[in-house]
Amino acid sequence: MTKDVLAGSGQGVKKGRTRYAGWIGTLARSPLYRGTIGLLAESRVARLAALLAVPLAWIAFFNIGPILQMANISLLANYPLMDGDEPVYTLSQYALFFQESLYFMPFLRSVVFSVAVTAATLIVVYPVAYYIGKVIRPASRNRALLLLLTPFWAGEIIRVFSVIMLLANRGAVNALLREFGIIDRPIPMLYTYFSLSFGVVYLIALYMLLPLYSSIEKIPNSLLDAASDLGAGPLQRFRRVILPLSRDGIVSGCSLVFLTTIGVFAAPLLLGGPNTVIFPEIIAQLFHGSNDKWPAGAAFSIIMLLISLTTVGLFVRVVGGRNVKLM
């Protein structure tokens, strides 16, 4: 590729006017382009503005704007604003959240549920990540990983639906148990915390797998060998070498899984029941129907955002590794 560029330019210099071929040449010769380039070459400010304008506008307008607008609405006493109305600000929506157990309890359930799911995912995925990163031959690691990644490209809804196939009253597990005569009546598994956590772990395991794998894979084998040579048993080796060295992966994986789980929406709609009402459903209800509930919905979203981000922030601080990446 470098060669190509060099050859192209060299040729261009010889021929003088036809410096570039193809559409790039057409573009480079157009007056508009030449004018712009001339302007940019003259002024450092214009150069900076050209690089900065679109990204900064995008970030300010679409990444920060919606959150600010949500915060703004959460403080309004009179919403929707009619023409000529002066906005009146109040904290009553936030007070409502802490007074009303109808809102507060689902929130607590959501937090506890997310923590439990995060812990369960860590326990289930860690051995898998360790197996791919350390047990199998390096040559087959990519294949072992790709095999696990494939199901994740099926959408959220499709994977939730496939969990219904497994757990429904007339689903595969109950059919199998009845076939073997273990049960007469189907065990109700769907619409419970069991089906919900089963489905959510199914949806998010990937977010745990990738960070864990990349940190475990980086642990030098020589350290593991040294631990064994010095007399560490498998358990001690795990506790004193592998676990501390995979801390970065654990922290990023848990943070990602927690943030995703607390905002999970499709899974509780389809896999949850009346007993498993969690916070996102409560918020969603406030946005259906009339507009005057929006400030409450916005306030609850802000509370949820703040608490989930602080939880993750604290977690990273306390457990923290040196090189925690959320991506």
Binding site: M1, V5, S9, I24, I37, A41, L51, L52, P55, I59, F62, G65, P66, I67, Q69, M70, V124, Y130, Y131, V135, N142, L146, L148, T150, P151, A154, G155, E156, I157, I158, F161, S162, V163, I164, M165, L166, A168, R170, A172, A175, Y202, L224, D225, S228, L259, G263, V264, F265, A266, L270, A284, F287, W294, G297, A298, L305, S308, V312, L326, M327
Partner: protein
């Protein structure tokens, strides 16, 4: 070498890995198997097989229009998100810019805000800027969500790019734009194509943003969701299986491509 030998805990880990593979694949396989069931109800066991659900699905107007609509949205989202994402990545990896860490962090904000809250904040936001729910709102929501992934992918690739490539182009007389289009962009190429496919797939798969931002026309996940909530027949299984095969194959291809470009 000891690590690769068969010992009890490695046997256990091998078993655990395959159990996990089963956990991921069995539900999807059951779903696929059910799509061949010759009955109007979804229930196990399956005793007779048919292809009629597939015949019905490929003739289903609703399904075909949802596929078209989802693809159209995914295409626009991918193009816009790639352009903006690469632009932000160039900015955030420019040595001369002050505060690039902050810019990067803010650019990645939509990737860490829980999906539900992001959807709601967009719903509130489009009302404030007078955009109705519908196609444009969906595209906006999906694009905001997709940009961070392009930024991260492009920055990872840019970091490995020798800076003298651009310097050489500049010395040979290329201006900023030409250097970008003929040196930087081709270098980003392989990683970017993978990133673009991911953008398209996340847009096609997205449920929560479409749920809050969508209008009357349904996207693919919305259609499947509506069918699941409104009584089930194996037709949904056939539909979901077709989508599963298509997205799985494309995702696998993109994943392989990105991993190869990193090595």
């Amino acid at each position: 070498m000891r690590l690769y030998m068969k010992n009890p805990q490695n046997v256990f880990l091998t078993g655990f890995y395959w159990a996990f593979v089963a956990y991921l694949f069995v539900p999807l396989m059951l779903m696929t198997a059910m799509s061949f069931k010759d009955s109007n109800f979804i229930s196990f066991p399956i005793d007779s097989f048919t292809m009629k659900w597939y015949v019905q699905v490929v003739q289903d107007e609703q399904f075909l229009s949802a596929v078209g609509y989802s693809l159209m949205i995914a295409f626009i989202v991918t193009v816009v998100a790639t352009a903006i994402g690469v632009w932000i990545a160039l900015l955030a990896s420019n040595e001369a810019i002050w505060g690039k860490a902050l810019i990067f962090a803010l650019a990645c904000l939509p990737a860490v805000v829980p999906g539900m809250i992001q959807a709601i904040s967009m719903r509130i936001f489009i009302r404030a800027i007078d955009v109705p729910t519908g196609t444009f709102a969906i595209i906006l929501g999906h694009t905001v969500h997709a940009v961070p992934f392009v930024v991260i992918m492009a920055m990872t690739r840019l970091r490995s790019m020798p800076s003298n490539l651009v310097d050489a182009a500049r010395d040979l007389g290329a201006d900023n734009f030409i250097a970008f289009f003929r040196v930087t962009l081709p270098y980003l190429g392989p990683a970017l194509v993978g990133g673009m496919i991911f953008c398209a797939l996340t847009s096609i798969d997205d449920f929560v943003r479409t749920f809050f931002l969508g209008g009357y026309q349904t996207t693919l996940p919305m259609l499947i969701f509506a069918k699941i909530s409104g009584g089930m027949s194996p037709e949904i299984n056939a539909m979901a299986t077709l989508v599963l095969i298509a997205t799985g194959a494309i995702g696998l291809y993109a994943e392989r491509r990105v991993r190869r470009s990193r090595n």
